[in-house]
Symmetry: C2
Subunit: 228 residues, 2 copies
Amino acid sequence: MSNHDKSIISRRSRPAKDPLSKDIIVQTAFKLMMDEGISGLSMRKIAKALDTGASSLYVYVKNLQELRAYVLDYRLKDVKIPNNKNASWKEGIFEVLHSYYTVLYQSPGMAELALTTVPVGSHSSAIIEYILKQLDLGSIRSTSAAWGADLLLLYTTSVAYEQTSRNQKGQDSTLISTYLHSLEGSQYPMISSMKKEIFSGESERFQWGIEAVLQGISVLKDGKKPLN
Amino acid sequence: MSNHDKSIISRRSRPAKDPLSKDIIVQTAFKLMMDEGISGLSMRKIAKALDTGASSLYVYVKNLQELRAYVLDYRLKDVKIPNNKNASWKEGIFEVLHSYYTVLYQSPGMAELALTTVPVGSHSSAIIEYILKQLDLGSIRSTSAAWGADLLLLYTTSVAYEQTSRNQKGQDSTLISTYLHSLEGSQYPMISSMKKEIFSGESERFQWGIEAVLQGISVLKDGKKPLN
DNA sequence: ACCTGAACACCGTTCAAGT
DNA sequence: ACCTGAACACCGTTCAAGT
């Protein structure tokens, strides 16, 4: 009852625990992902890292899916939106996508997260917005621009995903290149006749794809009926 | 000890349980996925459906990841490899991809499985082989063909994925279209100025993407340095 | 308003023990 | 050789109870 007793009881063994917040949860989740990859992204592990129980997180985050979306957008803040006035519209697009690729590539699990999570947030919006602006400069608008932006991001994400999962497992895991293993030449002549070409530089492949897509949508533009 | 007793004891309450096999496991897994989507694809659920324990499956299947690859290839057996001699090489490619798209679209969870599982097996090989053959007819060879085939399949898979997940949740979940919600026009002018165009027909979008990619890789062919 | 612990209903994988 | 049950080390989410 004495003041003395009380002050001893209320003394904390360590500085006051950081109060929870969406930001702290997202940052902790991201740190865990840096260390453990996508499997670090679990409610229970994040909670443990914050010295609390998993149920506490639900005050700030609706569920794991929503948390994943937050983590994705949080990481995308490091994607650099170019502002080189001398560059062509294509170069601008290549630059953002390259920055996006690098960001995904640097954090294990990030590419997988990007591939399976619908991005919601200001950073992903900024990237999309920039790509649409550049496409507009290249006279690509409307559905072509919208679908094209989608395709460009999808392509970049998937190249990053293949690249990182290859690194992880110490194995080659391109969609196409996996077919090459354990196949008989006689049964799949086309596949086996091009084994060499498959294993060429990854950055070359990345550039090639962006260029191919940009070429394709430039040629098509709007309204053109496909496959005639 | 008597013969009589023994025969009664050995009498089974139902016809002898089907012996396990890789095929039966894969087929059961696929059936479960048809009913429950991707969450039906668990060792424990498959085992229960086969009236055994999860550990029994490990005799025939190395782990869940391998089982997923088997299920994917099993489903891909229904993809029709075209043999229309009068069709152009592009039409042939469009046809396989359309069949592939339909197969993914019809089984819930299949598109997600295809997006996150490296396909190994004769059916996926047959599809790749056919696409490479058609690209060869269109004078697209070497790395262009390999990367192009990859890109075409990736694109098709992802359109199917977006389409099915949209259906599942009764929501629109195209990469691009999700940005449109809860965005202020003033902050992202490009995005908000094209809201209408985004929500157009999905089959049109599918065709557009294939054509764009084919155009792009046709123009590039081999050796061309991108972005000059 | 926020946090907690316990509970519920699940996971994949391993392993000793059985046939 | 194959199957089994139990165990291990996890999951996401909910909820009554506390402050």
